[in-house]
């Protein structure tokens, strides 16, 4: 039990450190952007004593975007961690497997048929968007699951089939994208590579309960992921209904990914990298791993968003691009190491 307590201490230490880092980035992000606002003015605005302009920039534009970053990061990272646990493959990622692309396709369809333009999403649209993301993600996941099924699920086959499904949805997206007008085309392209777009309080209010409901549920199911990692036979021997639990976990993962993609586009590699780093820090025990992964995901997306708006200012680089540029080499490194 001593080991356990040590682990828990270590977890609390790392978690608090990461939390402090997230808060620092949060404050820094509040100050920077196209319009620079001094920390004191930020404080004034937040307690309701700032100028109207600061109020507008901070409360209506910057804050919802940052809150969304945190939510999306936590959602995608946790989705990846669950997926890696279920697929028993360290390289699984909702982006690589085509789940993000599936969600993206559904969202593009929705915008194409019902909204007309990327800019004029109606209030009802904001509520429907996560739903479409979910439907797309679930469709993609079902396709992968069914196509990879051959007297059971083989992790390698799962990944290959996922890559194929990804390509199929990618082609479908291109067809619809090209039917949009050029401006919408570019916006859709940028959004698909991961951009927190259309950030407003409505979107936050829709997404917050969804993510905050699924996250604790995932952590609560963490012990099942531990058992699954011991191998199917052992898990079944421990009294686990393997296939049923696996499906439930997959559904949680797909749900988290679908909701996140609907709000933030397909941020690839985040679902792969965040669980990896977290596992290095705290080990494979999912009850501790999942919360840390979620926080790490939030931190990384917020950091990427902050970098994105400052690195090449005034150009705003979408979050997904920053994440991909830094995580793809890490992914390749892991790939080269894997046997």
């Amino acid at each position: 039990m001593n080991v356990l307590r040590e682990k828990l201490h270590r977890f609390i230490l790392i978690f608090s450190l990461l939390l402090i880092m997230t808060i620092i980035v949060f404050i820094f992000s509040l100050n920077t952007g196209v319009v620079r606002i001094a920390p004191l003015d930020v404080f004034k605005t937040l307690i309701g004593m700032g100028t109207d302009r600061d109020q507008l920039v901070l409360v209506d534009f910057r804050l919802p975007r940052m809150v969304l970053s945190l939510l999306i990061g936590a959602g995608l990272a946790t989705a990846g961690a669950i997926l890696q646990g279920v697929a028993k493959n360290d390289l699984a990622d909702p982006g690589i497997l085509g789940i993000n692309t599936g969600a993206g396709f559904a969202v593009i369809l929705f915008i194409y048929f019902f909204q007309g333009s990327m800019n004029s999403i109606s209030t009802l649209g904001i509520f429907l968007l996560p739903l479409f993301g979910l439907v797309g993600a679930v469709t993609a996941a079902l396709m992968i699951y069914l196509l990879a099924w051959k007297k059971g699920i083989d992790p390698v086959r799962l990944i290959l089939v996922g890559i194929g499904v990804n390509a199929a949805f990618g082609a479908a997206i291109i067809i619809f994208q090209l039917k949009m007008n050029p401006q919408d085309f570019m916006q859709a392209a940028v959004w698909l590579s991961g951009d927190i777009w259309g950030a407003n309080w409505k979107m936050v209010s829709v997404l917050t309960p969804l993510i905050l409901l699924l996250l604790p549920f995932a952590i609560y199911k963490g012990h099942i992921l531990n058992q699954l990692n011991l191998g199917e036979q052992v898990a079944a021997g421990l009294g686990l209904k393997v296939e049923k639990e696996r499906r439930l976990l997959l559904l949680i993962s797909v749900g988290l990914a679908g909701f996140s993609v609907a709000a933030g586009g397909g941020i690839a590699f985040l679902g792969m990298v965040a669980p990896h780093i977290a596992r290095r820090l705290i080990g494979p025990r999912h009850q501790l791993l999942l919360p840390l992964t979620a926080l790490l995901g939030s931190f990384l997306v917020l950091l990427a968003d902050t970098l994105g708006k400052n690195l090449l200012a005034p150009t705003q680089i979408p979050v997904g691009i920053i994440v991909a540029v830094f995580s793809a080499p890490y992914f390749i490194y892991l790939l080269m190491k894997a046997k």
Binding site: A167, S193, P318, I321
Partner: protein
């Protein structure tokens, strides 16, 4: 191999003869089909042209007839461009699969398109006045960059380039190059020019691009035929090849040059046209067996056939608008990829 060893000399010669006859028949049938389809491809389009007119414009060209002008300057180069691009991609895929002994190897999953797009973005951003030749050349280099990166990852990774690793490495390299080019495109505001290229397909093919395709095609195909025997032996395994006294490094290097020349030219002209290099070599191998002296020329013919067909379909599906030809080939190719993936048993 064991079966062959037990065959008598006579039977062995008979098999070879049979393959040759079959190959020649397939080759001729394929070429005839291509000619017919080129006719259809030219006749089909916004301005209605009869097949008889198509023939007339070739046999008795009349510079004053507008339909003859359309055929000569727009539709003929496009149809020929489609055939050549398809042929180049298919041969490139066949050589890749032979060299790596990897059933999933093909230009479309090796970061080729993203590499070409990356080079284009860089060129457009830093040399906005670049001519079309320079643009073609740069996307050529970019395509090579993608392939080389993926091959290098394979060469330096533990356990070599297994099918899954290849697919994942291709995805990762593609995603990274894609991200970098998106960032550059946004900053220098060349994104619009790029969306055009992604959609591109075969719309922009002219006689200049046909020349590039022919040049690269002749060099690549001759070289591919030159090493075809060695590829056949190499596809039996590295040890077999070395045991028979082959210089595997030389064969592989020549093979990479072939792949670069063929893929680079095809991608620089036609953009993202996926899966031809994956599907065609498999179909060819299924029909003619494992002899690359036949696989390579037949892949060229069938690849050309498939793309000219896909190009006609791309114009028909949603007429009068064009569907990107890459989407059509993906619709054909993805089920095939999934079929291969399901059969794949070797691990990561």
């Amino acid at each position: 191999m064991n079966e062959n060893a037990t065959l008598s000399q006579h039977d062995y010669k008979k098999t070879i003869l049979k393959t040759s006859i079959k190959g020649i028949i397939l080759l001729i049938t394929g070429l005839l089909l291509i000619i017919i389809l080129i006719g259809f491809s030219i006749a089909y389009g916004a301005a209605d042209i009869k097949l008889a007119t198509v023939w007339e414009s070739v046999s008795h060209f009349n510079p004053d007839a507008s339909s003859h002008q359309i055929i000569r300057e727009i539709r003929l180069p496009r149809a020929i461009g489609a055939v050549l691009t398809g042929a180049l991609l298919a041969v490139s895929g066949a050589v890749m699969q032979g060299l790596t002994r990897n059933p999933l190897a093909s230009p479309s999953i090796m970061g080729v398109t993203e590499g070409a797009a990356f080079a284009l973005v860089v060129t457009l951003s830093f040399f906005p006045a670049a001519s079309i030749i320079i643009l073609t050349f740069s996307s050529f280099i970019g395509a090579g960059l993608g392939v080389v990166l993926v091959f290098l990852i394979g060469a330096f990774s533990k356990g070599g380039l297994t099918p899954v690793k290849l697919a994942l490495a291709g995805t990762a390299v593609g995603a990274m190059l894609n991200a970098i080019s998106n960032a550059i495109a946004l900053h220098f505001q060349v994104a619009k020019d790029m969306s055009f290229w992604y959609a591109g397909g075969l719309t922009m093919v002219n006689w200049g691009s046909v020349k590039i395709l022919i040049t690269a095609g002749i060099i690549g195909l001759l070289l591919a035929m030159f090493i075809s025997r060695s590829i056949t032996i190499l596809s039996l395994g590295e040890e077999v090849s070395k045991g028979l006294g082959q210089n595997t490094l030389l064969v592989k290097s020549l093979g990479v040059i072939v792949v670069l020349a063929l893929t680079g030219a095809a991608v620089s002209i036609a953009g993202a046209v996926g899966f031809i290099g994956l599907v065609i070599p498999h179909i060819t191998r299924f029909m003619i067996g494992s002899d690359y002296r036949w696989i390579i020329p037949l892949s060229a013919v069938f690849g050309g056939l498939l793309l000219v067909l896909a190009d006609i379909a791309a114009r028909m599906v949603n007429a009068p608008f064009e569907t990107p030809v890459g989407a059509i080939t993906a619709i054909i190719g993805v089920p095939f990829f999934l079929y291969l993936a399901r059969g794949e048993r070797r691990g990561l």
